[in-house]
Each structure stands twice: as C-alpha cells, then as structure tokens.
C-alpha cells in the first residue's frame, strides 16, 4: 500500500514539475566559458557547474545573463560586469546562440575563429574590451550576422574583406582599434540595396585608410612643394648674385671714374 502511494506521488511530482532539459553542447559551452572568464567582482551570481548541466527549463533560464528558447541557450548577455580573462573557443558549442553580448568588460586575448560554428549568430557585440589579435575572417561563415560591434578594443591587422559577403549585415562598427590597411570596398562602398557604413564605423584606427574615411594628411611636404622650393631658391640666389655683381661693378666703375678725375686734376694743362 505504501509502495503504491509512493509510486503515485512520484508520478504526480514527475507530471507536475515540467522536466528541465539539459543539452550536452550547451553544458560544454558554458563550462568552458565559465573557466575562461574571470569574475573578480563576483558579478556572475549562479555560474556553477550544477547550473551548467541544466541551465534552461523551456523558456526560463536559471543562469544569469542567459536567455533560453526551447531548452537551448539562445542569448548570452554579460555586459558591464568587470569580467576579465578571455573568450573560450568552446563557446562555439552553444550552437543555438543567436545573440552574444560581452561588451564593456576587460576581456583580453583574441576573438576565437571557432565562432564560425555559431551558425545561428545574428548579433555579435564585443565592444569596449581589450581584445587583441586580428578579426577572424571565419566570422563571415556566420551567415545571419546582422550586427558586428567590435569598437574600442586593441584589434590589429586588416578588416577581412569576406565580411562584406554577409548579406544581412546592417550594423558594423570597428572604430577605435589598431586596424590597418585598406577598408574593403565590400564594406566601405557597398553596392545595391545593402546598407552602407559611414566613416564613424572605421575612425580611430591610425593606419586604416580608404573610402569612406577622409584622405590621410601628409606629415611632410609634397613633391611639388619640394620642387617649387628648390627652383625658387635657385632663382633667388641667381638674382641675388647677379645684383651683387652689378653693384660691385658699379662701385668699381665709380672708383675708377673718381680716380680718373683725380688724375686729370693732377695733370697740368698743356
């Protein structure tokens, strides 16, 4: 009798509490991200191993900064939490991730090229961090990217021209980095119906050039100026020396005339 009640009670409990789903990919993704990030101010309240195993219950998320959809992590927003450390490449295991926002922290290290596996990523915001290295061209494989925001970091190297192939890209900001080289025409001078990005998306990069940035100001003089100065100074010196010779001649002429005058005075009249 007791066993039956126990069975019925446990069945009722099973039915009453909707099962929370665990996805092994999401678990691996969160575990590795939790290890690569450092949280000195203890801002990530419940980022513990037990929560990683079961972060989602349908649409409810037990994990701070994570939003769930159908039991999978679909949005991660960990902005302005004084986080340090780096972005783990295993973040790519969160394959249902549609929005990643790690902005306004102190993250270092590169943007992992493994993020190419996030095939559902639509929004990538890593702005205002201390990320270095180059922008991985593999990001172009995240075909649904609408927003790439990497401003205010220490990124170097060129802007990959493959990023211009992202047909849904409507917001692009790499300002205030250390990028160099030409702005790819596929991004700066887009054709057709694709939205164009103006210079504010690219400025603050010392060695970055090309449309739509204004042309670089020369530090030294241009060739024309140098030639002009050379010719001008040559001409001026010619004129000066000519004038000098003229004056000297005139001077000696007068002296000679004066001397002749003296001699004629001294000479008696015959």
């Amino acid at each position: 009798m007791g066993a039956w009640t126990l069975l019925i009670v446990s069945m009722i409990i099973y039915v009453a509490i909707p099962p929370s789903s665990s996805d092994p990919s999401d678990e691996a993704c969160l575990t590795h991200l939790g290890e690569s990030l450092q949280d000195p101010t203890k801002s990530l309240q419940n980022w513990t191993k037990s929560i990683f195993a079961n972060p989602c219950n349908g649409f409810t998320s037990y994990l701070q900064g994570a939003t769930c959809n159908n039991g999978r992590i679909y949005k991660l927003s960990l902005t302005n939490l004084s986080l340090r450390g780096s972005i783990s490449p295993f973040l790519a295991n969160c394959t249902n991730l549609q929005a990643l926002d790690l902005s306004s922290n102190f993250l270092t290290g590169p943007i992992p090229p493994e993020l190419q596996s996030l095939v559902n990523l639509a929004v990538l915001n890593l702005s205002s961090n201390r990320l270095d290295g180059e922008i991985p061209p593999q990001l172009a494989l995240c075909a649904y990217l609408n927003v790439i925001d990497l401003h205010d970091n220490l990124l170097s190297g060129p802007i990959p021209q493959q990023l211009g192939l992202l047909v849904r890209l409507s917001a692009f900001d790499v300002s205030n980095n250390r990028l160099s080289g030409p702005i790819p025409t596929s991004l700066g001078n887009r054709s057709g119906n694709l939205p164009r990005f103006n210079s504010s998306s690219f400025e603050g990069n010392k060695d970055l050039y090309g449309y739509p940035l204004p042309p670089l100001k020369n530090k030294g003089l241009s060739i024309l100026a140098i030639v002009g100065i050379g010719l001008g100074s040559g001409l001026a010196s010619l004129v000066l020396s000519f004038t000098g010779v003229c004056i000297w001649l005139k001077f000696t002429e007068r002296k000679m005339a004066a001397e002749e005058g003296k001699i004629s005075q001294l000479m008696p009249d015959y």
Binding site: P18, N69, N70, Y74, N96, Q98, V119, N120, A122, V123, P137, Q138, A140, L141, A143, Y144, N146, Q162, L165, V167, R168, S170
Partner: protein, 260 residues
C-alpha cells in the same frame, strides 16, 4: 440587447423592491393632505414608477458594460474548452469582473492583462471573443491539446507582448491580422499543425525578439526582410518551406558561394 434569465429575475426583484419603496410615498402624500384628486396622484406615482424603472434599466446596463464584457469573453472560452483538471473551476461569470479568477491577472483598472493556462491539459478550441481583451499582454495557452484555428480576432489585441500557442493541435493558417500586434515581442506557434504561408505582415513588427514557427506544416517561402532579418533556420525548422524540409537549409538571401 439580449437579457439572460439571471438579469431578468434580478430586474423583477428590483421592480418589486421599488414598489415597496414607492408605496410609503403614497401614504406620505395622503398624510400630507395632497388631494388634488386621484388623477394627479396616479400621474405622480406613474412618473416615479417610470423613473425608477429607467434607473434600474440604466444601472444594470452600466454594470454590464464596465464589469463583464471581458468576463463574458473568457467565459465563452471556458465553454469552448474541455477542462478535465478543473483548472477553470474558479471562472465564475456571475462575478462583477474576472479579476478574482485563478490564472487571470488584471491591471489597476480591473482589465485583464494575463491569461496563464500553460500545460493545463485543456482541449477544445479557441474563440473569437478573445480579441475583446483590449489590454491583454500575455496569452499563454501552450502545452495543451487545443485544436481548431487561430482566431483572426487576436489581431485586435494591440497591447499583446507575448503570444504562446506552442505545443497544441492548432490547424489552419497563421492569420495575417497578427501583423497588427505592434508591441509583440514573443511569437511562439511551434509544434502545431499550422499550414499555409508565413504572413509577410509579421515582418512589420519591429519589436519582435523571439519567433518560433518550427514543427508545423507551413509552406511557401521564408520572409527575410524587416524584423525577420534576425531570425535563423531554427525559427522555421521542420516545415516544408522553400519546397523542401528546412533543417539547416539557408533561406534565399543567404548563400555560401565564395566563402573562406
């Protein structure tokens, strides 16, 4: 104006009560020596009688307008659903408003803002009267066995923020009136038997954050403009869209030519 039996009996009762109130006045008239003839008295009496009648008439009408239209709408839903778990037991239509009913939330003006009936083992069909809940923000009917069509009157719920009808047995097409829900953030119709095409009007809802139409029988092509630019194949999976089953297939605008 339709009167149900309950209202008729209450009105009758009020008229009897009014008569009782007026008869002391009659005595008063006689006592005060107002005897301008029986005709005058009768006229006065009839006047008050009519006035009282109109007053009761008007008040009951007023009560109907302010309190019960939302309760009537929800009651219509209740009568159209099968409720083996008695989740709707507290839904009493004789109350002045539905704000005390379980699974119903109201705002400060006693107008319904939330209907929370997820995973309630309900079956039956939805009703068009749901469109009368003008201040409704959350319609949570997921995880039931509700069949029939999505009423196009749901497009009148202009304050709706979340529409969750997923995991049911709904059929028919997605009404394009849903494009009028300009504050909608979550639209989850996944895991039903919906057919037809995805209405393009949905792309005009700029507030849309989460869209899930997966696991249905939708056909036609996937819109990619407006708010739909943010949505990836997950939102449309397991439908015979684009002429073939969509799993990780890329929509028309995205191709993988010339990749790294």
């Amino acid at each position: 104006m339709l009167w149900n039996s309950m209202e008729a009996t209450s009105l009758r009762g009020s008229i009897y009560q009014l008569r009782e109130l007026v008869s002391p006045c009659m005595i008063c008239f006689e006592a005060c020596g107002i005897s301008r003839g029986m005709k005058m008295r009768k006229q006065v009496f009839s006047f008050f009688y009519i006035l009282g009648f109109l007053w009761v008439f008007w008040v009951s009408d007023l009560v109907k307008v302010t309190g019960n239209s939302e309760g009537d709408a929800l009651n219509a839903l209740k009568t159209n659903l099968l409720d083996p778990n008695n989740v709707l037991q507290s839904w009493d239509p004789t109350l002045v408003n539905p704000c005390t009913w379980f699974n119903i939330t109201c705002n400060g003006d006693n107008s319904v803002t939330r209907v929370d009936l997820g995973n309630a083992n309900l079956s039956g069909q939805l009703v068009s009267q749901l469109g009368q809940l003008a201040n409704l923000q959350y319609l949570e009917l997921y995880g039931n066995n509700i069949s029939g069509k999505i009423p196009e009157e749901l497009g009148n719920l202009t304050n709706l923020v979340s529409l969750d009808l997923y995991l049911n047995g709904l059929t028919g097409s997605i009404p394009d009136t849903l494009g009028n829900l300009k504050k909608l953030r979550f639209l989850r119709l996944n895991n039903n038997s919906l057919s037809g095409t995805i209405p393009v009007s949905l792309t005009t809802i700029t507030s849309l954050q989460v869209l899930d139409l997966s696991h249905n029988r939708l056909t036609g092509h996937i819109p990619v403009n407006g708010s739909f630019a943010l949505f990836t194949p997950i939102s449309f999976a397991d439908n015979p869209l684009n002429g073939r089953r969509v799993s990780q297939h890329l929509p028309a605008d995205v191709d993988i030519k010339g990749r790294v």
